[in-house]
């Protein structure tokens, strides 16, 4: 009989599950553990924006800003519709863009409503979410900085997830779509937000300065892990 121990410090011995006889293993790839071994909980929050004004190109109406822990975004589900009565011949695209905020301490946006994330499993972590803030404008528009704080620098949109043409009242029969950024058995790199970074939903209107009818609505949820 042999007890398998750690080769470096000999303070850990391989655990065999009683009954089943299975040895414990953790899958690693060259970059680290595939299953995050230091998760502080998986959380989820919904978003629902209905533009009561006219949506404008490059509006950021919803954002999430990471705290000291990395945020690994697992899922982003999305639907875009319009209930306005417009005949504007243009679509509206909604995508996801990362941003940097040089000062992660000062609140980013003074306008907008705050949202608290919901943990997916009670007891997953006794620690509260480390997210700095989740802010949104329920009626659409562009979130603004607190005066005097460093500017927020948005990256280009990394992917457009939803769209709707504005020519038909009632919107389009687009099903919800999940931007499946993870999880993956092979430990694929998830969309990661470090301290001082965040993610925002960005409206894009092809052609730019097109005035749209009110009623553009995008809704869904975002799910992430804090590690």
């Amino acid at each position: 009989m042999a007890i398998i121990s750690d080769g470096q410090n000999r303070d850990a011995e391989l655990r065999i599950q009683p009954g089943g006889g299975n040895g414990r293993v953790t899958l690693y790839n060259q970059e680290g553990p595939i299953v995050f071994n230091a998760s502080f909980g998986r959380r989820i929050t919904p978003f629902l924006i209905r533009c009561t004004g006219t949506p404008t190109d490059v509006d950021h109406s919803w954002l999430l800003r990471a705290g000291a822990r990395d945020v690994l975004i697992r899922r982003l589900a999305f639907a875009v519709q319009t209930d306005g009565f417009g005949a504007t011949a243009t679509p509206l695209f909604v995508g996801l863009a990362r941003f940097q905020c040089a000062n992660p301490i000062v609140a980013l946006s003074q306008a907008g409503t705050s949202e608290m994330p919901i943990i997916t499993k009670q007891g997953f972590s006794s620690l509260p979410s480390d997210i700095k803030e989740i802010k949104y404008l329920p009626g659409g528009g562009n979130l603004t900085n607190v005066a005097g704080t460093p500017s927020v620098v948005y990256e280009n949109v990394m992917g457009f997830i939803g769209s709707t043409p504005f020519t038909t009242r009632g919107g389009t029969p687009m099903p919800s779509h999940t931007l499946a950024l993870g999880p993956s058995f092979d430990g694929m790199p998830l969309l990661t937000l470090h301290d001082g970074e965040g993610a925002a939903l960005q409206v894009t209107i092809p052609g730019g300065a097109v005035t749209l009818a009110t009623g553009a609505t995008y809704r869904g949820f975002i799910e992430w892990e804090e590690v």
């Binding site: 398998i4 391989l14 655990r15 790839n29 679509p91 769209s163």
Partner: protein, 207 residues
């Protein structure tokens, strides 16, 4: 007490102190790691609305790999829309691999890192024309299309989506792979008209 030691080096098996679990890396029978090291993981957007007529079989979005690494495409999401004058036809887009040359025209698109800790993408080129105008494809050699998308123009306001997910297996072999210097493009396989639109994203790794 036994310590498992490599036969080829001084390395010994690690048992994690808290979980008491041994560290393991999955390899295929061919000796290739299921999850090799990557240089980086990236995403790029697709967004265009056709503001004119674009001839059939024009290339409107293109990604060309660099000369060093292969590009492993994880997912492609396309949403076709239409806001023009209703007509009895259907927009149609197709995805093709290409090689030999690099498209030009339109505007460059930035590849976004999925983690800012990654280095920049090593792609040779990434571009589109947001008005749906054709890119210049001199000397490009196209393979046969491997996927298509489109939406009926019978009523204005429609959308249709397609998701190509190459990650349904833990293996990396099912990925759609671009060898060095190969590319991926979107072509409109029938004439595109005012009001056609296309949005979405491509997600990939370089290794």
């Amino acid at each position: 007490m036994a310590v498992i030691k490599s036969g080829a080096s001084a390395d010994t098996l690690t048992i994690d102190a808290t979980s008491k679990a041994a560290r393991m890396t999955l390899y295929g029978p061919d000796g290739i790691a299921v999850r090799p090291t990557i240089q980086g993981a990236y995403m790029a957007p697709i967004n265009m609305r056709f503001t004119g007529t674009t001839a059939a079989n024009s290339t409107v979005w293109a990604l060309r790999n660099g000369a060093t690494y292969s590009t492993y495409i994880r997912r492609i999401f396309l949403m076709a829309g239409f806001d023009g004058t209703a007509a009895g036809s259907t927009s149609q887009y197709e995805l093709r691999r290409f090689n030999t040359a690099t498209p030009s025209g339109g505007a460059s698109v930035t590849a976004i890192k999925k983690d800012t800790a990654f280095g920049g993408s090593t792609l040779a080129d990434l571009r589109q024309d947001t008005t749906g105008a054709a890119l210049t494809v001199t000397s490009l050699v196209f393979e046969t299309a491997f996927a298509s998308a489109g939406v009926a123009r019978g009523a204005t306001g429609g959308t249709s989506q397609i998701m190509l997910d190459f990650t349904t297996s833990p293996e990396t072999r099912p990925f759609f792979v671009l060898a060095p210097n190969e590319g991926l493009c979107i072509r409109n396989s029938i004439v595109a008209v005012v009001g056609d639109s296309l949005s979405g994203f491509v997600e990939w790794e370089e290794r």
